[in-house]
């Protein structure tokens, strides 16, 4: 089965979003995963910036705005 055909078949399941529980559940699921990935990427950026500049106290980090 080709990728687009498979995706099309899965999207056929979109009729299920008529069910309010499934609609809300899907939104919660997507938001949860987006929050998770967002926090990880943001944190990764902070870690890498601090690793370049060296570990410092909170006040020093805040003053130099090291990606926080």
């Amino acid at each position: 089965m080709t990728g687009p055909r498979a995706a099309g078949k899965i999207l056929n399941g979109a009729w299920m979003l008529d069910d309010p529980d499934i609609l809300i559940g899907s939104v919660v699921l997507v938001l949860s995963l987006a929050t998770l990935v967002g926090f990880i990427l943001w944190s990764r950026r902070v870690i890498n910036r601090l690793a370049r500049h060296g570990a410092r106290t909170l006040r020093e980090i805040t003053k130099d705005r090291d990606g926080v």
């Binding site: 499934i22 559940g25 949860s32 998770l36 926090f39 570990a55 006040r59 003053k63």
Partner: protein, 766 residues
């Protein structure tokens, strides 16, 4: 008093990289919690609830993992929550954290042993290989669980270095297996989209049920605790520890959601269940059918998806996952018990090392007792719930530690990672974890008996033993000398005077006398002895002589007039020591002197005064050049409103000498926001010593606020002003007006900060 540990310290070699420690975390997480959690969660919360259980748990786990990551990047030492709690809250809470961690890891070990035995007996029973065994199924399971646990207890006694490497291989295998299940599920749905109907009804038992299933499965998200334990052995720990914690939570959450999805679509509605060539059942509602298997629901579902190899692969994965996690939890529990013994929080025997094997055998024996007792005595769901609830309590505490350590030690620790949006993630995590713990009661009341009972037992042990036997750590604040006034003398108002040196003491005494008389207060003289970072704490007394002289001089002046206590303490950081003393003594007002010199850098008034003003949970008065025989007849109070301005007026009215003195409430109108100084004085009339008769007001129109105040101050004896209310972070980018005036004003100056409101209340407790 000081540490009685050997001055010679040893260090573990740093050999673990990002990949290895991420694998350690994954190995702890992808295990029994997932496999038994799926069956139970789908039974309680339905198909949709199962998906959301893991997704939402991932969000709570990432918030807690961010806390662990921040603390581990700043304190990259083995010890985990036990270490963090010691720095944040001191010995008592630290003991409780270690005590909980020991139990949580031990009970998690019991759970892995029980799940191993349930799946192994189920599989072997299916093959008809154990029909000859006597006893009921549950008895067989418990005996096997005890045997497996004993085996790994013995492996830990032998030393677990090699099993660590094998564990990494197991982890890769089990992770690949569960990812494979997830992919097979997606492919199945792509071929047969009608299986998505399995998600109807999405929440058959209501949305609130998710909270209970989230609590039950939270044990499957506890791997970052093990990563934190590897702080001493990790290469570039400030960078790698936080990354490993965050990556491992990200990987397991996505994997769990994928596996949960696959489990739901494994079975098609209407499928005939065949056993020995006969149809024994027809699946009407897949979620109900999977849930009916309880702990083995996952295996039953996968068995329908991969009829031939499914049961074997699942059993193999569970055995791999359970054994590697069992080994790691026993190791972690033993290490925690050993640390408690090493710090004399538990009897020293817990730190006893086997001469032959170099392992802490007493700690291991004690851990074995818990693991075996729980594995054989409690029902499996209650074992899992007990482990979950204990980890929830532990993580709740760690989230509080993040807030407290940032607040108290942010100027001392070097951070390799600071979480974004602080303090929102730890506060939300505390709230959510509390909710999960409460709702877990629905699934296991026994967990709610076991966990609190263990904590209460810990408190008793601490009271009777640990409190008097614990050894001091490097960062603790300790009392060197103390002389306290009888509690019944003096009113309820308490003034603490931080004395830095003899000259400073005499400067503060005269004004302290006025303030104490006005408030009818008790006075406590406090001297912090800062011990340099590399000097042993045992030498603290060598550094205290100068401060002691100052305290004695101040005492001679004040003791005849007020109930007076004196305290000398040593610490690594004077600001933290002062705030800690003020909080402990429940002081209402703190007075400290300031030399007026600032070397630049990140502080407005200095590395001691700034943190004290920011964190002290009481009113603070900072005095510059106010000593000697100075009398304050003309006092200027620059105002812009707010509680600090009101306190500045009050303090000015106390310090102004005699009825003939004059207090001028002064404001600079920049044209942006109009401030009515007359109304402000009228509002605060009741607070002024001697009434408002001596107070006049003045206002000028100018753009340069600092310049206007400095010019006005030239004709006054004293300037009293409120500290800025601008948040600390914003202060660093643009210096606030009061602090700039304080730095540049040549006149005697008093800066005040008022406590109160939510921030003041939180400061007292957190």
């Amino acid at each position: 008093m000081a540490s009685d540990r050997s001055p010679v310290s040893s260090e573990l070699s740093r050999e673990l990289g990002l990949f290895q420690i991420t694998m350690m975390g994954l190995g702890m997480m992808i295990g029994a919690g997932l496999f038994i959690g799926i069956g139970k969660s789908i039974h309680e919360a339905g198909s949709g609830g199962l998906l959301l259980t893991f997704a939402l748990n991932g969000v709570i786990a990432i918030m807690t993992a961010m806390g662990y990551a921040e603390l581990s990047s700043a304190i990259p030492r083995a010890g985990g929550a036990y270490n963090f709690a010691r720095l944040a809250f001191g010995r008592g809470t630290s003991f409780t954290a270690g005590w909980m961690e020991w139990f949580a890891s031990s009970v998690a070990g019991s759970m892995y042993a029980v799940v191993f035995s349930i799946y192994a007996i189920e599989y072997l029973g299916g093959l008809g290989w154990i029909g000859w065994l006597p006893g009921e199924r549950v008895v067989q399971e418990r005996i096997l669980a005890a045997l497996v646990a004993s085996l790994f207890l013995y492996v830990n006694y032998r030393g677990a270095s090699e099993t660590g490497r094998i564990g990494a291989l197991f982890t890769i295998g089990q992770t690949l297996f569960v990812v494979l299940i997830g992919i097979v599920g997606l492919v199945t749905v792509a071929r047969d989209p009608a299986r998505l109907e399995n998600f109807k009804p999405f929440m058959p038992n209501g949305w609130w049920k998710i909270l209970a299933t989230m609590g039950f499965t939270f044990v499957a998200f506890e791997g970052y605790e093990v990563i934190a334990q590897a702080g001493d052995e990790t290469i570039e720990p400030r960078k790698n520890l936080p990354k490993a914690m965050l990556y491992s939570v990200g990987i397991v959450t996505v994997t769990y959601v994928l596996v949960a999805f696959a489990t739901v679509v494994c079975v098609r509605a209407g499928t005939e269940i065949v056993e020995n060539g006969k149809v024994v059942a027809v699946v009407d509602e897949p979620w109900r059918w999977i849930g009916s298997f309880g702990a083995t629901g996952f295996a039953a579902a996968v068995g329908q998806l991969m009829r031939r190899a499914g049961p074997f692969l699942v059993t193999l994965a569970v055995i791999f996952a359970s054994t590697s996690a069992l080994n790691a939890t026993i190791f972690s529990a033993t290490r925690t018990a050993y640390a408690l013994g090493r710090d004399r929080m538990l009897p020293g025997a817990f730190a006893r090392i086997s001469q032959k094997r170099k392992t802490p055998w007493v700690a291991l024996l004690a851990t074995a007792a818990i693991v075996l007792l729980v594995a054989t005595a409690l029902p499996v769901m209650d074992v899992a719930s007990s482990a979950s609830i204990m980890f929830i309590f532990l993580f709740l505490l760690v989230n509080l530690c993040v807030i407290r350590i940032r607040r108290n030690m942010g100027d001392e620790l070097a951070y390799g990672y600071v979480m974004p949006l602080f303090p929102l993630p730890p506060l939300l995590a505390v709230l959510c974890l509390g909710l999960l713990a409460l709702h877990l009661f629905e699934l296991s009341w026994l967990a709610w008996v076991t966990a609190p009972a263990w904590i209460v037992a810990g408190l008793v042990v601490y009271r009777l033993y640990s409190r008097s036997h614990a050894v001091a750590t490097e960062d603790e604040i300790a009392i060197l000398e103390e002389e306290r006034a009888p509690e019944d003398r003096g009113a309820g108002y308490r003034i603490t005077v931080a004395v830095a040196n003899p000259a400073n003491a005499l400067d503060l005494v005269r004004n302290t006398y006025r303030l104490a008389r006005s408030k009818d207060a008790r006075v406590e003289l406090l001297h912090m002895v800062p011990v340099p970072p590399l000097a042993p704490l045992a030498d603290a007394e060598r550094y205290m002589l100068e401060g002691k002289e100052g305290v004695v001089e101040a005492m001679l002046y004040l003791a005849p007039m007020f109930p007076l206590s004196t305290t000398l303490r040593y610490c690594r950081n004077p600001a933290r020591g002062i705030v800690s003393a003020v909080r402990e003594r429940r002081a209402d007002l703190l007075i400290l002197g300031w030399h007026g010199a600032v070397r630049g850098g990140v502080f407005q008034l200095g590395s001691t005064v700034d943190p004290v003003i920011e964190r002290a949970p009481c009113d603070v008065v900072v005095m510059k050049d106010c000593g000697g025989d100075r009398s304050f007849r003309r006092v200027l109070v620059p105002l812009a409103g707010g509680p600090n301005g009101a306190l500045a007026l009050e303090i000015a009215s106390i310090l102004a000498e005699g009825e003939a003195s004059e207090i001028v409430a002064f404001t600079v109108n920049t044209g942006r926001a109009r401030f009515d100084v007359d109304a402000f004085v009228r509002e605060n009339e009741g607070r002024l010593a001697g009434g408002a008769g001596r107070v006049s007001t003045a206002a000028v129109r100018a753009r340069d606020v600092v310049g206007s105040i400095l010019r006005e101050a030239e004709s006054y004896d004293l300037v009293v002003l409120g500290s800025t209310r601008v948040p600390v972070l914003r202060r660093l980018s643009s210096p606030p007006v009061p602090e700039t005036v304080a730095r540049t004003c040549a006149k005697p100056l008093v800066m005040v900060k008022a406590a109160g409101g939510l921030t003041g209340w939180l400061s007292r407790w957190i």
